[in-house]
Symmetry: D4
Subunit: 156 residues, 8 copies
């Protein structure tokens, strides 16, 4: 199965990003976790993206805040799907992160999820891999049913 990389721009993002890692693990998707900064380790980030396809990755989840360039920089070096996860930081509840990630110019998309939407970043990666992994597809269907049941069984 293709792997998913979870990359964050700073160690301080770890707690917010953790649900993405946990979700990938829960679905049995092989993954690796990295700290790579578009601004502080640009070469390493570029290298990672350049070789991600060859290294067996199928999607890159890039979490960053403020002027969040990580997803865009990674997408510049690979044609793999890059999932942008805006981290809420100092300005306007994450609007700076969101706009820095989602408003990519023509030619280099970043698939953006909600601010701090870590679990959804992982689910999107799983949906992408599931297109050629029937087992994952079955797990997604089961997960959808579980969410439904959880609401049906919720007691107020």
């Amino acid at each position: 199965m293709l792997k998913v990389a979870v990359i964050m721009g700073s160690k301080s993002d770890y707690e917010t990003v953790k649900p993405a890692i946990d979700t990938l693990a829960k679905f049995g998707v092989p993954n690796s976790v990295h700290i790579l900064s578009a601004h502080r380790t640009p070469d390493l980030a570029a290298d990672f993206a350049r070789h991600a396809k060859g290294n067996g990755y199928g999607a890159l989840i890039c979490a960053a805040g403020k002027a969040a360039h990580l997803g865009g920089v990674m997408a510049a070096y690979t044609t793999l799907p890059v999932i942008g996860l805006p981290i809420k930081s100092s300005l306007m509840d994450g609007l700076d992160s969101l706009l820095s990630i989602v408003q990519m110019p023509t030619g280099v998309p970043v698939a953006t999820v909600a601010v701090n939407g870590s679990e959804n970043a992982a689910l999107l990666a799983i949906q992408i891999l599931a297109l050629s992994e029937p087992e994952l597809d079955a797990k997604l269907e089961a997960h959808k049913q579980e969410m439904k049941d959880a609401i049906i069984n919720a007691k107020i």
Copy 2:
């Protein structure tokens, strides 16, 4: 090859959405174009999403403006990757569309691209399909090189 559906909430979105259709055609990706409204034809939209996987689709591009629920509604009925394309309309240059699409709750992601970013919506769909279509992958690499050459050869 899996198909891509391009769905718009209103016929008036067609001109903005067209670059997505053209890009899919240019890459030779089988696609179909639909007008389906989350609010005016909810049953049809739900049915389309419910049967999309069985009907051979691999990704759904959902374009909508204002209180843009189309992507979220489709994602509610399928585990296929849903790509949300916010259309700029009346309020704050598309911020209403963008927030309505990207801020999905946990469990149901919509992969959001830039406001009016139609070509990127298609490229993201192609990147997803390319994971299991080497020919598409080669075309994406060539397209990346073409973009690079276009900038290198640009004359000011």
Copy 3:
């Protein structure tokens, strides 16, 4: 008397929504409370809306946050008045919820109240029912007078 349904997208919205329920009770309006998600239980939400008129409802209060599609989805399936109650969540103090609810496209209105304005959502429902319920109308007039008296009697 027609009933009012109070529907929330998630159990976690309950505390914020509670003043709506309490207000309906205080005015003696028959009501029922539901957890129904536009994204996690779309079929159930659609079914509820589709049969709400036949089941004796006169207005639906739909509380949701973030990309808040619940009101719009319910309004897609019924011609009953749908009251949208934006719940403040992560982004811009509820602006994402507000825009996702109020900016409905032509043909499918959602009557939107203030962010976290639960009591007002209930009062609006009561105002609507009061058009054909003289007793409710009298209670609304009395409530208006009470609010006035509370201000006149306030001591600084």
Copy 4:
């Protein structure tokens, strides 16, 4: 049948408000059109609201822009449902109008529709009256079907 009043704060709002008037006419709802300003004719606005119930009105549509107080001022003097229609003017594509109308304090709701959403303001009024007018209800159901058919029959 109860009447609907369409009230605008300035004659210059007429073109934007016209679809509300046309929609009421199309559904056969008795209505009257007024120019009343919360700031320039406050007494007249207050009087209108104070006597609206006695004068046979069932809902008031209040259209205003910028610091849009018309809906709130009318709602201060009546317990009839007041529908707020934010008019797009100079600042942030109508965000000033929208927030001035929708963010009403506890006790005095204004049912807000989309910025410039005139037709929806009328449809909401009709939905409210339809609770006790079966003929209007039938027309609303027919209108919902027409919208659906228009989308099904749309050719791209």
Copy 5:
């Protein structure tokens, strides 16, 4: 000397408004404090404004939050200078209050100060009265010098 009225829309605004009252007291400006709501006691608010000039007031400070209509409603009934003081509440750090107050339509100005800028609201009222009160003018000059000295003498 003309009096200054400090009016707030709700008793809960008192703590935020208090610096305005204290500043008027410190400058020896005769003042009175009132709770008057544009929406819950509209008649009383209108009456107050209508008779304010005759009752010896020279300026009205109107503090309100959310859809903050108090200043505009008072200004509708008087030609006295009305000072709008936006109170920070639930949405966007007081942006709703600010826009609801400052964006008044042509013909009916409200002199708006910063969100929660209570002391400045009072100082503005004092500046206005000082035009015909040399003693107040001298106090303002002294206050300006005190502010300057406070900064010069500040130790980091």
Copy 6:
């Protein structure tokens, strides 16, 4: 009678500011018009403010756009009432101008009117002067009546 100064930061603001000048003229208020930039002629702006009281001014209207410091800079050098008129320019429909003017720190108020609200800036100045000019007061009352009549007589 005290004079009113109309000061703009750039000649290009003249057309937007003109209604302020016309309104002052219509009310017979002595006034003078100046181009003074907080950033390009800071000494001249400071000098003007420093001597404005001695030169017979009663209020300063300061019109500026973008990072609009003119009003604040003038207010730093005088205790006269300074009226800030935000000019709509490039960013967010004048929100940059508005926030730059209205959000003054404690101790130095600027009485802010609506974005591009030139006529209201003049009316506010007139309201201030009218406190000690009965003739102006009468004109303001007449103007209020004219506005009312214009609305009453408006034909749709």
Copy 7:
């Protein structure tokens, strides 16, 4: 004298950026103009920044719009002062560009000027070089005087 590089992310930015180039020329500052995209030619952009210091540059002006990563990416590879020039594009009058550029994380500053503030980007570069170029310093002083004279001599 050290050179200034003017770099834009797309040929379509040229007209907006031109005043920067013209200003550098007017002050006699050696400069070069480049099209380099953070997303479409990331290697070339990185190389340019990496060698800019060695190639005799003293400051880099980076103009870009939307998710504007160019300045940040260049700053990642050099310790030269990088001046970020946000270009107004589709969303919120350039707010996306502004936030993407100015909100850089700790350690990697980008000196940001106003949206579309091309001339100021050049003036800032000149101010920086002027610290060790007395001739440039004299030209800046003369330019400041010219701006002052232009305002003094402006006729309304």
Copy 8:
């Protein structure tokens, strides 16, 4: 070596500004710290800027919040590079401060860094001085390497 002045509009900004002072100290850059208000000590602020070049300064860091005029006012009186540091205060997470600083009119740039980006303000000043101080340049290169190493060595 040229000196850097760190100027804040209020003593209350000290804690936020402190990382700028510490960073300058760490790099061995001569600096001085001042409290100067554009609005409360305008003369002193103007004087400081007017004589900064003659007094051996090479860059001025100006920290201010809300209607943050300090940087602009200083830049009006000097051609030295002025670095604007927006301080987060009451409205929209510092957006008022940011826009008040960055949106300077043509002719008078302020080099703006992130909201509360104190360390970056200092680093930008150091980058500017380093153009003619090889020792500072070496320290910047070492600092860049340290940041890189810190990320490489981070353990999750």
